[in-house]
Amino acid sequence: MVREPALHESMMRPLAAQAPESTVAPDLAPLRRAAAWRVPEVIFWLIPLIAYFLFPKSLSLLSQIAITALFALSIDLILGYAGIVTLGHAAFFGLGAYAAGLLAKYGYGDPLLGLAFAAAVATAVGFLTSFLVLRGTDLTRLMVTLGVAMMLFEAANKATPFTGGVDGLQGVEMTRLLGVFGFDLYGKTAYWYSVAVLFVLFWVARRIVHSPFGMSLRGIKQNVARMPAIGAPVHGRLVAVYTLGAAYAGVAGALLTQTTQFVSLDVLAFTRSAEIMLMLVLGGTGCLYGALIGTIVFMTAHHFLSDLNPQYWQFWLGAALVLIVLFARDGIMGIAQRLQARLARRATP
């Protein structure tokens, strides 16, 4: 058996010295500019402004949409980007809601302080429970998240002197936002406050998903077995994003408490965990805007359908969801992207 000397010689050549065959300069722009803001995004963020003037009497509903959108964003970070399935994400929403409520009830009514406190509580619990959640596979994760949320729900239900139990937490008094803007009866302050917090945290989430850390989350979702082989500590990344998602959910819960000055036990309910997942899937996972659009569509539909048909409105919602999952698994954003791609192809024949 004789080996080809030619092959052996070429082995000695360092990699860098090789001239690539193609002299075409690589187009690095798509990756370099991936994080740039696009026109449709700017238009999207005009919606809260327009909605304020178009529906001045529905500000409380609009605030709820903004708050729920933030909650949907939090589950998109962990489910949409990192692929961690959860059926108990309301645990963190509820923790944030009660944390902010209790803080305000016992004399610290500053809204931003309340947000920070709620975020801290949700972060701590998110971090600690992440180790339970991340141990298993998808089914284990579903069960553990569900179990943690159920325990918190019953704990809040039982601790009546502390949480008010089924009657809800009363006596939440907020001071002026930044010492200037009082929470008014029309809900104007509440609306702008919710939208502003949503926008700031969206902007931060947008930075995160475009960073190397965010990219590694997509890598974990697409091929978890490869990530250690490129040197990425998968477990650590998942702990980090689960904790981050918990913090976001906690802030959303705190916003609900502060803008309604009340905490109802259903902040921790299973239906809240399930519905937020529906909203995300409806809008499309793993692209941030899917969370926002899914929430807007779901809550608007909820509003109108329950007006039309107060008892059975969920029937139509169920039908819409079945259709989405069967025919457009990537949700509204997926449909929009396919349309855009088709239009682009038509434009350049």
Partner: protein
């Protein structure tokens, strides 16, 4: 020359079955070392033990003289040990450039950076582009991995491993599933890798093994049968008996 990758009495048992049985292996710096053996000989299990995908029942693994037996996979990668997979493990929905840039970012320690966009890690992108150019993948840099032909995807396997700038590269049947014409090109690419990268290769195609390797270990039933130069292995009667006799017909 000194051994960069060593195992000492490595054992891996699945129940009573020893998939790896008392393997002591020395891979010299700069070697083109091939690991051959019949199906079920435990080649991939051995790779999995070397990379930390599996934990050994007994024995130790040394990388550059350092005991890495207790280290996790990603920690061994950081110490210069990278691998490819027999069956593609790629990032289907990322572009080729994205996935290799991600791997470069991990090596450079940017993996925890959560604020600065990937697009502004210019050095990482440029390095990924250079790597793709050297593997003749640059013209598909912005294609999604899932849209590429299998042969190209096998090259991305190698690109992702090389992005870790390994001192030791484990190639687990790099040409598996690739049509014959393309596998030759694939091996030319592998043969052009810089010589200070030590390579341990698992391959079924004996022709390729004998052209490429300067050292061959034969694994049978989880244990090392022998280790020698290709010439000596080719004339070894025991090897012929268990393996080569049927594989290359003399």
């Amino acid at each position: 020359m000194s051994a960069v990758l060593q195992t000492r009495n490595l054992v891996k048992k699945f129940g009573a079955f020893a998939a790896t049985n008392d393997v002591t292996l020395n891979i010299e710096h700069g070697a083109r070392h091939a690991l051959i053996g019949p199906n079920g000989a435990g080649k991939t299990t051995l790779i999995n033990l070397l990379t930390g995908f599996l934990e050994p029942t007994a024995g130790e693994v040394f990388l550059k003289g350092y005991n890495v037996t207790k280290l996790a996979q990603h920690q061994r990668v950081k110490r210069g040990l990278a691998r490819t997979f027999q069956i593609n493990r790629l990032f289907a929905d990322m572009t080729v450039l994205e996935s290799v840039t991600m791997a470069v970012c991990e090596r450079l320690g940017f993996g925890w950076n959560w604020w600065r966009p990937v697009g502004r890690h210019v050095a990482a992108i440029d390095e990924a582009a250079d790597l793709l150019a050297s593997l003749r993948l640059i013209d598909v840099a912005n294609e999604k991995t899932r849209n590429l032909a299998y042969g190209k995807q096998r090259l991305i396997e190698i690109a992702l491993a090389l992005a870790a700038k390994p001192q030791v590269l484990l190639l687990d049947e790099p040409a598996a599933g690739v049509p014959t014409g393309e596998s030759r090109e694939l091996f030319e690419t592998i043969a052009r890798l810089p010589h200070d990268v030590t390579i341990l290769l698992i391959e079924h195609d004996m022709d390729l093994v004998f052209r490429f390797a300067d050292r061959i270990s034969v694994l049978v039933n989880g244990a090392l049968l022998t280790e020698d130069t290709p010439e000596a292995i080719a004339s070894d009667k025991r090897v012929k008996e268990v393996y080569l006799g049927e594989a290359i017909h003399g």
